[in-house]
């Protein structure tokens, strides 16, 4: 099951440049929350702070508190331990190109020393089913590589790979931006189903997508969280004029 995420006084820096300013947020368990905002507003930086992906960037640092369920992200938890509980899907599907479909999904578990073949088979099937990909790939799990799939299938494969380690939170950074409308629809349906089991945070530039899949929406601008509310409120009658100007296309 998903767990809630609590973010308190988070500030993020790239060297001397501050990218996020005092972000405070609570993500509800088993709900999808969309983060929207113009390019460079800090939404991707923020989502990376939730699983410490910013640590891959030299000079990047984060201050503040992030708790995922009972796990304190910045207080002694190892990155490996954290990412077992927090899966991530990126803008561009990134399956391991030389691995089969099966091995792509099983890679996370194998990396953690999981070797029982029967159980691996079960996890792979369950994960591919959860990602709505099983029916399309079940006949060539070992024959085809992840890279041989279509863009939409590759993205669902990456979702299956993220789900295989049974995380509690799924972070999605513009997961549909490179996909056609049919594939986008499948991923959106998937997000809708997955939030019964996972807490989902999705960064998107597509505001209609935010409106379709998320119960809550946060609007970022210039590194600040301007508004966070129920999605219908944000798209019907936002409280802040800057949010309204953004969702109506008056800037951004």
């Amino acid at each position: 099951m998903g767990v809630g995420i609590t973010v308190e006084h988070v500030n993020a820096f790239y060297g001397k440049t501050q990218a996020l300013f005092d972000i405070n947020l609570v993500f509800q368990a088993n709900h999808a929350t969309a983060l929207i905002g113009p390019s460079g507003c800090g939404k991707s930086t923020f989502i990376r702070c939730l699983n410490r992906m910013h640590e891959t960037i030299p000079d990047a640092r984060v201050e503040g508190t992030v708790r995922i369920g009972d796990l304190s992200v910045y207080n002694g938890t190892s990155a490996t331990q954290l990412r077992r509980r927090v899966g991530m899907v990126f803008q561009k599907a990134n399956p391991f190109p030389t691995m089969s479909i099966y091995d792509n999904v099983a890679s996370g578990l194998k990396l953690n020393g999981f070797r029982n073949r029967k159980q691996l088979d079960e996890v792979v099937e369950r994960s591919l089913n959860s990602a709505a990909l099983w029916d399309e790939v079940k006949d060539h799990l070992h024959k085809k590589s992840g890279a041989s799939l279509s863009g939409g299938q590759q993205q669902r494969l990456c979702i299956a790979r993220a789900l295989a380690v049974q995380p509690e939170v799924l972070l999605m950074d513009e997961p549909c931006s490179a996909l056609d409308p049919i594939s986008t629809g499948k991923i959106e349906d998937l997000i809708f189903q997955l939030k019964e089991q996972y807490t989902i945070v999705i960064v998107t530039h597509n505001m209609q997508q935010a409106a379709r899949v998320a119960e809550f929406t946060g609007f970022f601008l210039l590194g600040k969280m301007i508004e966070f509310d129920k999605t219908e409120k944000v798209f019907r009658k936002p409280s802040d004029k800057r949010t309204e100007d953004y969702v109506t296309g008056r800037f951004g």
């Binding site: 798209f235 019907r236 009658k237 949010t243 969702v247 109506t248 008056r250 800037f251």
Partner: protein, 232 residues
């Protein structure tokens, strides 16, 4: 800034205003025709109804196109929803003007009768409601729309008084029953025009404040948390 989108919204607004002008003119003409027993004005109202109907369809099509292609949100979405509903109300206002003109045409064929009802006064009040409702749309002013809602009670009272007096006239002077019945129907048509003006005002409040004040849910109307929009 979505320039094309803003242009389309502005064109939609202008089309609705033109239609509002046609509907307002139709009611004015019908009421003048009543006061002056003027057959020519009655015919003008009937002839111009088709212009209102054409305008209604054009506005609906334009709104449909914008919804389908531009996916408006927030104040823009509320604006388009309000426009489609106001459009429908204005078309009904045109229908009521036609009903009044038809009653007047009937009355003109009968001997003039002195009736204890001040239809011109009621027409003035109703005309003011329509005008203010349209002004509130032009300026995006919720307080002006609110004033229209309050005027509706005055017109309702006028209609009730007219009914009482005209029914009494029918009982006391049966020879003018037909004229009294026509006047009664005109009073009812005017009261319906006032209802449509009220609906328009409610839609303006929805657009500007995002508040649903229909069916006397006035408590739901929240004061604006920022200056009202002047653009659109």
């Amino acid at each position: 800034m979505r320039t094309r989108f803003q242009q389309e919204m502005e064109e939609l607004r202008e089309k609705l205003l033109r239609m509002g002008g046609l509907a307002e003119l139709a009611v004015d003409r019908a009421c003048q025709a009543y006061s002056e027993r003027d057959l020519t004005r009655c015919r003008l109202v009937l002839e111009n109804e088709s212009l209102i109907n054409v305008a209604e369809r054009e506005i609906d099509e334009r709104a449909f196109d914008i919804l389908a292609t531009q996916q408006p949100a927030a104040v823009d979405l509320r604006f388009i929803l309000a426009v489609t509903k106001i459009n429908s109300d204005l078309e009904r206002v045109g229908d009521q003007a036609v009903n009044i003109a038809e009653r007047v045409m009937d009355m003109i064929e009968l001997p003039a009768a002195d009736l204890p009802v001040d239809i011109p006064r009621m027409a003035t009040a109703v005309g003011a409601m329509v005008r203010r409702a349209l002004e509130s749309f032009v300026d995006g002013k919720a307080e002006l729309a609110q004033a229209v809602l309050e005027m509706d009670h005055v017109v309702d009272r006028m209609r009730d008084e007219a009914f009482i007096m005209l029914v009494r006239t029918m009982n006391e002077r049966p020879q003018v029953t037909q004229q009294a019945l026509d006047a009664l129907l005109v009073a009812r048509n005017l009261e319906r025009v006032a209802d449509h003006a009220t609906n328009i005002a409610e839609d303006v409040i929805f657009w500007v404040l995002g508040a649903d004040v229909r069916h006397h849910a006035l408590a739901a109307a929240q004061p604006p948390d920022r200056p009202e929009r002047q653009e659109q």
